[in-house]
C-alpha cells in the first residue's frame, strides 16, 4: 500500500489496520510522519496513566444500603406515572378518552370565555394594562421559546416507539391543542389576565410533561 504524508490525518481518523501498518512503514523514511505518529501514540499511552481501577473498600456497602432503603421505600409516583393503567387500555379507548378531554377542554375554555369577568371600571384589576401586557407577552414568548427548546431535547426520546412514549405524545397533543385554543382566545382578548393564567397553567403542564419524558431517558 502506498501511503503519503497527506494520508496521515485521514488514517489517524479512521484508518484500517492495513493503512496503519503502511503508515508505520512510511514513517520509517519520513521524519515528520514519524514524529506525528509517535506523538499520537503517546496520547494513548498517557491515557493509560489515567486508569486507576483500585477498589474503594466501603463504596459497595454504602451503595447496597441505599439500594435497600430505596427498595423498601414506597415508590415515588408522579401524577403521570400513577396513570400507569393508561398503557393497558386499548388504543381505541385511548383515542376516545383523549377526544373526551379535548371536548371537555374546549367546552370549559368557551365557558370561561363567555362568562369571563370584565370589570368595567377597574381595568388594572383583571385587565392587563398596556405596559404590563407588553411585559406579559414578552415573558410568554421567552417561556414558549424555552419550552420549544425543551421539546427539541425531548423529541428523540418521544420518537421512540414504546407505549409510554405514545401516551406522552398523545398527552402533548392534547396540551398543544388546548394551548392553541387559549392562545386564539387570548389573541382576541389580550388584556384578560384570567386567560393568561390558564395559558400559563397549560405551559407549565407541558413543561412538566417534557421533563418527565427527559427523565425517563435517564
Amino acid at each position: 500500500m502506498n501511503i503519503h504524508c497527506d494520508d496521515r490525518e485521514r488514517i489517524f481518523l479512521e484508518g484500517s489496520p492495513e493503512e496503519w501498518a503502511a503508515l508505520e512503514q512510511h514513517a520509517g523514511t519520513c521524519p515528520v510522519c514519524a514524529e506525528e505518529l509517535r506523538a499520537w501514540k503517546q496520547l494513548s499511552t498517557a491515557a493509560e496513566e489515567m486508569r486507576d481501577y483500585q477498589e474503594s473498600p466501603t463504596l459497595w456497602a454504602g451503595i447496597e444500603s441505599s439500594l435497600r432503603q430505596q427498595q423498601a421505600a414506597p415508590p415515588r409516583k408522579s401524577l403521570w406515572t400513577s396513570l400507569d393503567f393508561w398503557r393497558h387500555i386499548l388504543p381505541a379507548w385511548q383515542s376516545a378518552f383523549v377526544g373526551a378531554i379535548v371536548v371537555a377542554l374546549a367546552i370549559s375554555s368557551s365557558y370561561l370565555y363567555t362568562h369571563r369577568a370584565v370589570p368595567p371600571m377597574d381595568p388594572g384589576n383583571k385587565l392587563l394594562k398596556t405596559t404590563a401586557l407588553a411585559e406579559v407577552e414578552r415573558t410568554e414568548r421567552e417561556y414558549m421559546s424555552a419550552i420549544d427548546k425543551l421539546a427539541a431535547d425531548a423529541s428523540p426520546q418521544l420518537a421512540t416507539d414504546t407505549p409510554l412514549m405514545a401516551s406522552y405524545r398523545e398527552k402533548l397533543l392534547v396540551l398543544d391543542s388546548a394551548i392553541a385554543d387559549l392562545r386564539v382566545q387570548a389573541g382576541e382578548n389580550p388584556s384578560n389576565a384570567h386567560l393568561r393564567y390558564q395559558l400559563l397553567a397549560m405551559y407549565q403542564e407541558k413543561q412538566q410533561t417534557l421533563q418527565d419524558v427527559l427523565e425517563t431517558k435517564r
Partner: protein, 226 residues
C-alpha cells in the same frame, strides 16, 4: 528535562505493557477496536436480568464487574474521589429506579454508563451552581483534579489531566471513554446519543487539540523527536 508548562515529557521512554484486563485498542499496535466476547455479552445479559428481577445481587454483580471502571470514569470527569463515589452511588440508585425502562436496545453496560455520564454532568452542574457560578458555562469548566497515587509516569498523567481540562466537555467525554476506559465507538455513540462517525470525529479533534496543547516548544524540541 525538556518539558515546559503543559508539555508532555515526550522524550520519556514509556512502557506499553498492558495491565490485566486492559484492552488498548490502537490499530497501530496491530489491533482493531475491542470486540466484545460472547462471554462478556452473556454476562451483560445475566446481570441485566438479575437487576430487572429486583435482586440486589444483580447490582452487586454489576458493581463487581464494572464498579471500579465506573468510579475511574467519574473521577476523571469530576476530579475528586469523593464526588466520583457519590456519582457511582447515585447511578446505582437511578438504575434501580428506572430498570423497568431498560428495553435491551443497547447493552446493559452501555445503558449504565449513559446514566453515569449524565449523573456526573448533573453533579458538576449542581456543585458549580452551589458555588454561585451560575453565569459561567458549567460544561466548559474543567474538572479540578485532586492528587492521587502516582503511576509509572505521574508527570505525563498530570500534563494530560490539565490539557483535558481545556477540551470541550464533549471531547473530554469521548476521549476518556475511548482512550481511558476502552469503549468502542459504537458503545460511546450509544452512551452519548451521537452517531458513531461523530464519536470518531470528536475523538480525532480531541487528540489533535491535545497534541497541540502538549507539543513541546519548537525551540526545545530538538531532543524529543527522535
Amino acid at each position: 528535562m525538556g518539558s515546559v508548562g503543559l508539555t508532555l515529557p515526550w522524550e520519556h521512554k514509556l512502557s506499553s505493557v498492558a495491565r490485566d484486563g486492559e484492552r488498548r485498542v490502537e490499530p497501530f499496535e496491530g489491533k482493531t477496536e475491542p470486540v466484545r466476547t460472547s462471554e462478556e455479552l452473556s454476562q451483560d445479559a445475566v446481570v441485566a436480568a438479575a437487576c430487572l428481577s429486583g435482586n440486589l445481587q444483580g447490582y452487586e454483580r454489576l458493581y463487581q464487574w464494572q464498579g471500579t471502571r465506573m468510579k475511574n470514569l467519574a473521577r476523571n470527569l469530576l476530579g475528586s474521589q469523593a464526588d466520583a463515589e457519590d456519582a457511582v452511588q447515585e447511578t446505582f440508585l437511578k438504575i434501580q429506579r428506572s430498570i423497568s425502562g431498560f428495553r435491551g436496545q443497547s447493552s446493559f453496560v452501555t445503558w449504565t454508563f449513559r446514566i453515569l455520564v449524565n449523573t456526573c454532568h448533573d453533579l458538576r452542574r449542581s456543585r458549580v451552581r452551589r458555588k454561585d457560578k451560575v453565569n459561567q458555562d458549567v460544561d466548559a469548566l474543567p474538572p479540578r483534579m485532586e492528587l492521587r497515587a502516582p503511576g509509572a509516569h505521574p508527570s505525563l498523567r498530570m500534563a494530560l489531566e490539565r490539557a483535558l481540562g481545556r477540551l470541550t466537555a464533549h471531547q473530554r467525554d469521548v476521549f476518556l471513554l475511548y482512550e481511558v476506559e476502552g469503549f468502542r465507538h459504537a458503545e460511546i455513540a450509544g452512551m452519548l446519543e451521537i452517531s458513531e462517525t461523530a464519536s470518531k470525529n470528536t475523538l480525532f479533534q480531541a487528540k489533535k487539540n491535545l497534541r497541540t496543547m502538549l507539543e513541546p516548544p519548537r525551540s526545545s524540541a530538538t531532543g524529543g523527536a527522535q
